[in-house]
């Protein structure tokens, strides 16, 4: 048919490109191959220069390892460091390293690499959390298996940070092309990647520990939450790492082929209130807004009731967790009273949110509930990360916002007056400093006070703690219910 020629010709012209499109990341399914679905694809493999959780989610603990890691209960346990001691003045840490560890490029792992990796943070990393490493004064290589780190002042947060990407161990010969070729000591190496589709991890033959049960893991990136669910149903993947369409979970529960594992995360879905901007600088107004929101109803409608109600910036896996979720109960009458006491009428606030499903859902509920107490809001979805990061986070151009704060122990952000919260409390700053430099017991006591102060001051409203919901085929086991770090830890997974 002549009519078809232009189209077929155009298609044929580039059939070569189509044929070769994506010939690299091909994997045939087998009993020792696992396919895991994620929503956010890593832009590259260098988490020292690129923010966001997508990269450590794939690489931390799987490809890169640190001296220590977090176990499923959130406790610090040995990894590359077999043991460690802390000096009485809490400034010197002596790490005894594991023997026989090699990087995937064959180089042996020694205390020299510890020194190299820790000092590199200050010099070469560009992301904001690198400042946690500033407290390191110097690192001594006492012996090939003994590294000594001396801090300029005691810091509990420092050891904890070693369980995150900050503590990842690099080899000097392996940092030439971090964006494309990550070289770590972990059980997997990156074998291939296909943009817009997947990353393939293969077992590291030189790994020091137990070989992982799945020698090949395909990380499949599917942005759309429903498409992700559908992929599991139609056998495209074996595991959904995190459900983002929770209303669909009952379908999986009703099906014998699948299991649903639910636990907690570190992600607080927070209604941020710009403390620096009137009228939100008035604590009564903030408390009023907090009282106007029925968080249980919000969780039920926006996130199908899955998640935990929290009263401050602390998840249950932190040692100083207390359930403060009922301190400001849902009380619209009280909210109205507070508002008139503060002399505020006809309030009209801009709710500038990232264009992500949980934020869009929660915002609609917040808007409706605030309207019930006479506060009008305008929802403005912003592109995330580009626009939200610039306008809300950097320029502080917002009244209200809703965002997940995913980093562990990010309660410390309330100690920074320049952070977008706009919250400036000398008492909190003092307590945070004491908690960091004190003993572990002091830390727990002080942090509890910080959490309570934030709650009393209504520095923000913590809508709920984002749940960790993993859905997988029944034949896959070894999942940790709680997500305690940025990593999606593949090392414990095995067939049942």
């Amino acid at each position: 048919m002549k009519a078809r020629i232009p189209v077929v010709a155009a298609a044929l012209l580039l059939v070569v490109s189509g044929c070769s499109a994506g010939s690299s990341a091909s994997v045939s399914a087998g009993p020792d191959t696992l396919s895991v679905g994620f929503t956010a694809e890593p832009a590259n493999f260098d988490f020292t220069r690129t923010d966001g959780t997508a990269i450590p989610q794939a690489l931390l603990y799987n490809v890169y390892e640190g001296l220590v890691k977090l176990d499923a209960q959130g406790r610090i346990v040995p990894l590359l460091a077999q043991s460690w001691t802390i000096s009485p003045d809490r400034r010197t840490y002596d790490f005894r390293l594991r023997q026989g560890v090699k990087f995937s490029n064959g180089a042996p792992f020694t205390a020299e690499d510890v020194k190299f990796s820790l000092l590199r943070v200050k010099k070469d990393w560009t992301i904001s959390i690198k400042s946690t490493m500033d407290v390191v004064d110097h690192v001594d290589v006492v012996a090939p298996d003994h590294a000594r780190v001396v801090l300029s002042k005691p810091s509990n947060g420092w050891l904890f940070s070693l369980t995150s990407r900050l503590g990842a161990m690099f080899s000097p010969a392996g940092v030439a092309d971090l964006a494309n070729k990550p070289i770590g000591t972990g059980p997997y190496v990156v074998a291939a990647r296909k943009r817009g589709d997947s990353v393939v991890l293969k077992a590291n033959p030189a790994y020091w520990g137990r070989k992982p049960a799945y020698s090949t893991v395909v990380l499949k990136y599917i942005k759309d939450p429903t498409a992700l669910n559908n992929a599991l149903f139609s056998n495209g993947i074996d595991v959904i790492s995190a459900i983002t369409a929770p209303d669909a979970i009952p379908q999986f529960q009703a099906d014998d082929r699948f299991q649903v594992v639910q636990g907690t995360t570190n992600s607080e879905v927070t209604l941020a209130m710009n403390n620096a901007r009137p009228p939100l600088n008035d604590v009564r107004v903030r408390q009023a807004l907090t009282s106007a929101i029925d968080r249980k109803a919000l969780l039920d409608t926006a996130w199908a009731g899955r998640g935990t109600l929290i009263g401050s910036m602390v998840p249950p896996t932190d040692p100083w967790y207390e359930d403060l979720s009922n301190v400001h109960p849902f009380d619209p009458a009280h909210a109205k009273a507070l508002l008139s006491e503060a002399g505020v009428t006809n309030l009209n606030l801009r709710l500038r949110i990232p264009n992500l499903p949980y934020a869009v859902s929660a915002a609609q509920v917040v808007q409706s509930q605030l309207a019930d107490v006479g506060v009008r809001t305008t929802i403005e979805p912003l592109d995330f990360p580009a626009v939200w990061l610039k306008q809300v986070f950097t320029d502080h151009d917002y009244d209200l916002s809703i965002i997940q704060h995913v980093e562990a122990r990010d309660i410390t952000t309330f100690g920074k007056p320049k952070y977008y919260w706009g919250y400036d409390s000398k008492r909190v700053q003092q307590l945070l400093a004491e908690a960091d430099s004190g003993t572990p017991e002091q830390q727990v006591a002080d942090m509890k006070q910080v959490a309570r102060q934030l709650n009393t001051d209504a520095a923000a409203d913590w809508l709920f703690l984002f749940p960790n919901v993993i859905v997988a085929k029944t034949k896959v086991g070894g999942f940790a219910a709680n997500q305690v770090s940025e990593s999606f830890d593949l090392t414990g997974l095995a067939p049942r």
Partner: protein
Amino acid sequence: MTARVLRRVAIFVVSVLVASIVVFLFMAVLPGDPAQVALGVNATPELLAKTRTEFGIDRPLVTQYFDWIGGVLHGDFGRSYVTREAIGSQLLDRLGVTLWLVGAGMLVALVIAVPAGTFAAVKHRKASGASVSGLSQIGVAIPAFLAGIILVQIFAVQLRWLPSGGWTPPDQDFGEFVRGLILPALSLGLVQGAVLTRYVRSAVLDTLGQDYLRTARSKGLRPGQALVRHGLRNASVPVVTVLGLQLATLLIGAVVVERVFVLPGLGSMLLDAVGSRDLLTVQGIVLVLVVGVLLVNFVVDVLYTVLDPRLRGS
């Protein structure tokens, strides 16, 4: 006729150039600082400035434009601000996927439209013809993504006959490639088929009443033969024009279908790039899409001339 074709070529080239300037200027207006996005939140002003120089976005616009367009003509679309990879090769990969999708969709549409439209035209006074025509009306009204959502639910999730999404290149596993393409092609093709059916029907109806057909019949050809030999060739003229117009709509449908079926095509690449303010990538994709449409229209124009002898003389 050659003069006419040459004129068309000249117009095409000029259009492409103008389009590239429009696209470039548009991107220059977009708010959001690529350096800020790439470096994240706490980047120092010095680092930001250094990165801006590295990206080349602190140079005057004219320099940037010529640099860019010069590179494009060599196939170099620059490096993405976000992934730091060459845009060109990724563009090609993704374009391939979108083309397969659009091509398959077009195929499905034609396979539906040509017989259905002809049938509806030939039997237009009977109930069967009218009902086909009616069905095509309804088909036009359904958005491609709705068709996609429904098809996924039935065939992928419930029946599990076909995958719900994803892409396998044809040289890797041809079977999987075809299986993965069926539902997306159907989503695009069913709706486009409905649209085309109506055009085919009206084009065939037109030619049915034409003189040369009656001449053919009077020469002794049976209705079927007359239709195929003379009618369809002439009916294909407006259909070819329409195909050109429809390609633009097909591309739109492809963007949405790519989202529903998770196909790594140009559409999803565009949406991702816009979301992450990856301006250089957006520029490249938009240029390719626009030039693509211009190219198809150009080819259709030329073919139009070839197909319709009445136009050759002018």
